[in-house]
Symmetry: C2
Subunit: 449 residues, 2 copies
């Protein structure tokens, strides 16, 4: 299996540190608002990556941090009057509900920043002790000049840090230095006691404190959105490799591409900002998941109603084919059906090639196209083998291939409403009967008179 | 909050090692067969304990080991002709499916013995180095005489070990010594390389190797069935405290009581052995969960059809009451409804008292009995507050209080049909509108004009 790492900018053979165990860390949400479809894209991608690693026999320990203390949370708390900790818990809960709806259930441990203050403070102290960090009157800072390799992930240099929001402070030795600890500024912000007085951690330190505690100084895979490479992930490497003296902190850095909406960057000012909750009012979670996985995780993806509908239709094609198989998978079977062998191999080869889900999905359609006209001719064993392959694919993609019964439990109502409509038509009350027809069609029911 | 620990044989104040983090380990299954309802009882209990700790604000890291190499698995493999590793994976998968159906989803990490061979071998090596263990021609053994505190959990003594299955070997210094590593005996058993030749771990060592790796030498809570106290948990303490020199290895030892069937011990020879899969063919998962939680986790529990039906009826009473509330919980409300305050406190006081779920459930019925006749008189706020309390209780117990909606997916249709009926009434076409009403009532829908 080959995985592209942002650090080497190339595909590398996947070799873990501990046999078949994989320690996987992905930057989790800052819980000050509902998650949007860009988050959905990133977390669906890593959920599928975890599913595939497990399918391959790896034992994966997947941690996400939860940033529950941060400027954005404090600002939102001041705006809304909800205490910062309550606000953070509320949006963490909603985030987990959203992820569950998207079938993103692979995270083993959500590690909150505020639950790991002893580890954060300890790591900062060791950075100070080793001469990489210093205290000023308003905080503790990492002195970038002490770490020569800064920039190796992003291929960007120290000077570019100067333009970054994080470093507007003035007490630092150098403008590029970034905060590890921010001392209390006002009375109405959450703080924790530390050797440097009451305050709260900088943004970057929670990740390395958490991963050092659970995984150790070095681990296998770190993921996140492309926008986090600089300065966030660069700062993580800087902190961890400085404190441990060991390199690399992480073997494989995986970054998901951007999600645009109708060709434009998603932003509140452009009024094209879509939360997962809003999305799921109109679309089945599986449709969005299938849409996301139809593009490679590293590529940009363009969200539009048209492409969602396209995904809906594509998924429907798979489901109708799956329904036709009409066999039950019980025990393993032997099948030498060549069409399945060819496209099955193509599916797994594609997944082995840096988790290329669009190619893997294309292999499913290859199988469907090459077999659909001869299905009636196939042996029971061949059909069971096809179904078993599709069950594996469905599990890896996290998308159900079962025809969705939207009418579950509604047959009786549908019968009643059709009967009423017939009576109305018999009475030539076409205004009401047409209204029923139009409404039923809008709800997705076929009307055949 | 007070928790009963088997070690002290008393209820103790709950004090964690790391602020509000709790490291929780529960002995998981040996995956050679389907899980039975006794397993269900144990894992439902610990799932609810985890839910309650999280409700109280603790960040819980809950690990279960999976024993996937063991005499039982090897024997079953020989009987069935399925390779041992395949057999173990199959029953692990089925176990996880069963647990998911029981809404037991709280385990953060399933740690397989075979995925932790480096840690197991390393811990055994350190026991040898420190003089607690020795190698013979057929294995490595813990020398019980070197550890004076053996027996402190079970209050049983070394001699009792002699009668135990585990110690039928003959190469040991003392018959009480237990195996840490078993050297290969036949060609058809799974083995791993080690400093003592190819072989496989003894049963007790995987747990302490796994917990030392993820939690460190000391942690908060260890759980399991009552039958595991001796010799299994005793051996765990012996291994870990010997290697670390620190005591106690675990602060709170929690053990679930036995589950009997119609007053008798469940066993295959008595033909009263019930798997979770068999159970769920006849009962809703929530019914079994509610049944389990209606007894305190430490007490014995007697499974019978009658008690299951009793649980079904009790749960139905809660659900019908919940349905009657007929309000939506949106934001927090203030309510000074005394009946709720009284029974709400009683619920949480009971949970704080060693997770006394039967008393907590009785508090729900106290609330129902004392409020059901005045529900129509209560303010909107009071009803929202009751519902919000029941939502919390439902979440903690892991049992849904929603009337199970057989008509799911029919809301849109119901909206349409009501609208049509209103228009018909407006047009005074009472024949059709009455027909709709009668039919809807026959289908079980309430009609309020």
């Amino acid at each position: 299996m080959e995985i592209y790492s942002t650090l080497s900018r190339s595909k590398e053979n996947f070799e873990t540190i501990n046999d078949n165990r994989v320690n996987l860390f992905v930057c989790g949400p800052t819980v000050y608002d509902d998650a949007h479809i860009g988050h959905g894209r990133t977390y669906i991608s890593f959920d599928t990556i975890k599913r595939y690693l497990e399918y391959k026999g790896y034992a994966v320990f997947y941690i996400q941090n939860v940033t529950d203390v941060d400027d954005k949370i404090i600002n939102r708390s001041k705006e809304s009057g909800i205490p910062a900790d309550e606000l953070a818990r509320k949006f963490e809960k909603r985030y987990r509900e959203d992820m569950h709806k998207l079938n993103v259930d692979g995270v083993n441990l959500f590690a909150r920043a505020t639950d790991h203050m002893p580890e954060i403070i300890d790591q900062i102290q060791r950075l100070i002790d080793k001469g990489f960090a210093y205290e000023t009157e308003d905080g503790v800072y990492f002195e970038i000049d002490t770490f020569e390799e800064f920039g190796k992930l992003s291929n960007r240099n120290v000077e570019e840090l100067e333009s970054h929001r994080e470093i507007a402070e003035t007490t630092k030795k150098n403008q590029q230095d970034f905060a590890l600890w921010k001392k209390r500024e006002g009375v109405d912000e959450p703080t924790w006691p530390s050797p440097w007085g009451d305050g709260r951690p900088g943004w970057h330190i929670e990740d390395t404190a958490i991963t050092e505690y659970y995984f150790g100084e070095q681990y296998d895979v770190h993921g996140g959105g492309l926008d986090l490479i600089f300065p966030h992930h660069e700062a993580e490497i800087t902190q961890m490799e400085a404190v441990s003296g060991k390199s690399p902190m992480v073997r494989y850095w995986l970054h998901t591409g951007f999600l645009n909406v109708n060709g434009e960057k998603m932003s509140k000012s452009l009024h094209n900002f879509i939360t997962i909750r809003e999305l799921l009012e109109s679309y089945e979670p599986d449709t969005f998941r299938f849409f996301v996985l139809s593009t490679h995780y590293r590529s940009p993806i363009d969200f539009s109603k048209d492409s969602l509908h396209q995904s809906e239709r594509s998924l429907d094609r798979i489901r109708k084919y799956y329904e036709q198989l009409d066999v039950e998978v019980t025990e393993e079977v032997n099948s030498d059906y060549e069409v399945l062998a060819k496209w099955g191999n193509e599916f797994f080869d594609s997944m082995d090639d840096d988790f290329n889900t669009p190619k893997a999905i294309a292999a499913i359609f290859g199988l469907i196209n090459d077999s659909k006209n001869e299905l009636y001719n196939l042996s029971e064993e061949d059909k069971i083998a096809i179904k078993s392959f599709l069950d594996d694919a469905s599990h890896i993609l996290g998308v159900s291939f079962e025809l969705q019964d939207v009418n579950a439990g509604s047959d009786d109502l549908l019968g009643l409403i059709s009967e009423v409509r017939s009576e109305l038509r018999a009475k030539k009350q076409y205004d009401l009967s047409d209204k029923i027809r139009d409404n039923l069609q809008a709800l997705g029911y076929d009307i055949n008179d």
